[in-house]
């Protein structure tokens, strides 16, 4: 039961913290920033967002989506809200 819960939790939510420390942007090789909603990894160095699906980071370069300014602000606001609520 504990094992199932842990697996479901991982599948449903965002990035495992240890994993987010290991991974870098596949193109720039710079650090990635975690975004909880939607679960994704942001490469600020090139302005690209890589999705998480079922707990698995999708870091094939063609999985990336270029963030335009509005999306960058939304991701930043979400990160700021999260920081303020702690």
């Amino acid at each position: 039961m504990v094992r199932l819960s842990k697996w479901l939790l991982k599948a449903g939510t965002g990035v495992n913290k240890t994993l987010s420390e290991i991974l870098v942007c596949p193109l720039s090789k710079q650090a990635l920033r975690v975004c909880e909603e939607p679960p994704s990894l942001i490469s600020d160095s090139i302005g690209v967002s890589f999705p998480m699906k079922d707990g698995i980071p999708c870091l094939v370069p063609t999985d990336g989506k270029i963030l335009d300014t509005d999306d960058t602000m939304k991701h930043d606001n979400a990160a700021d809200d999260s920081a303020n609520n702690k």
């Binding site: 290991i22 699906k53 980071p57 094939v60 989506k65 270029i66």
Partner: protein, 253 residues
């Protein structure tokens, strides 16, 4: 939001006499299609021998307790699980593949097999030609039946070299492109008369016909050793196993 699109160069159709699985996208789709029967076919076609070859590959990698390990082109995770047993609870293993379907199966197997040490595994969808890891991170790397399928083998070797720690090893298992006429003939006979007919039963004849083309296009043991040395490895040795049908390249940084 705009998607990142990388254009695949168009090749003149007059060069092809048969369908070729040329670009990375074609190969990705192929591995997505065979994912549901991949493990069963491996067992059937190698009479279970593939597990022995994979254990040998892991031994050659030098993986040990507490290590940070990478299994490239992990597919459904066979090598990743063996690496996980080596790394233990204090180690970490990343299984990377570009096929979502294969990773989904790997992740399900991790849950179903439920060995405690498998908690040290993380799955990542990624490209062997653009690894999402910083320089010098891993203590050992394995790659099983993957190098033959990447579109740029030189670049794949360079990326493996980049993410390896100094004095560490990569162990690459694959079909052997034999220079012995009898072995090459036997290998071709096996594919034509055993592999493809078996795959046909599963509706995957075309996908497994790709195997013969990919071995034809692959490098010999000597060429693989040179590829590794050109990428910067200080030592490279190719071992023939499985009666010469399979080969394992071991390269040290």
């Amino acid at each position: 939001m705009h998607s990142l699109q990388f254009s695949v160069p168009l090749l003149p159709t007059s060069r092809f006499k048969r369908h070729s699985v040329r670009c990375a996208s074609d190969r990705q789709q192929l591995f997505n299609r065979i994912a549901p029967v991949y493990d069963n076919l491996n067992d059937l076609l190698s009479l279970g021998q593939h597990r022995i070859w994979k254990r040998m590959a892991v031994s050659w990698s030098g993986a040990k307790t507490g290590d940070s390990l990478l299994d490239l082109c992990c597919g459904s995770g066979d090598l990743t699980f063996f690496m996980s047993e080596k790394a233990g609870a204090d180690g970490k293993v990343i299984g990377l593949d570009f096929s979502k379907e294969q990773l989904s199966i790997a992740s399900s197997r991790q849950y179903l097999l439920s060995k405690a040490c498998y908690n040290n595994i993380e799955w990542v969808e990624g490209d062997a030609l653009d690894l999402p890891f910083s320089n010098g991170y891993f203590d050992a790397i394995t790659m099983g039946y993957g190098l033959r399928n990447v579109v740029d083998k030189r670049r794949a070797m360079q990326e493996m070299f980049r993410v390896l720690k100094p004095d560490s090893r990569v162990s690459i298992l694959d079909f052997n492109k034999s220079m012995q006429p009898f072995t090459a003939l036997f290998q071709e006979w096996m594919i034509d008369n055993v592999v493809v007919p078996t795959a046909t039963v599963y509706g995957l004849a075309k996908e497994y016909q790709y195997l013969k083309t990919s071995i034809d296009d692959f490098l010999t043991g000597k060429e693989l050793e040179k590829l590794a040395l050109d990428a910067g490895f200080s030592y490279a040795r190719h071992y023939e196993i499985g009666g010469g049908l399979m080969g394992n390249l071991v390269a040290a940084r």
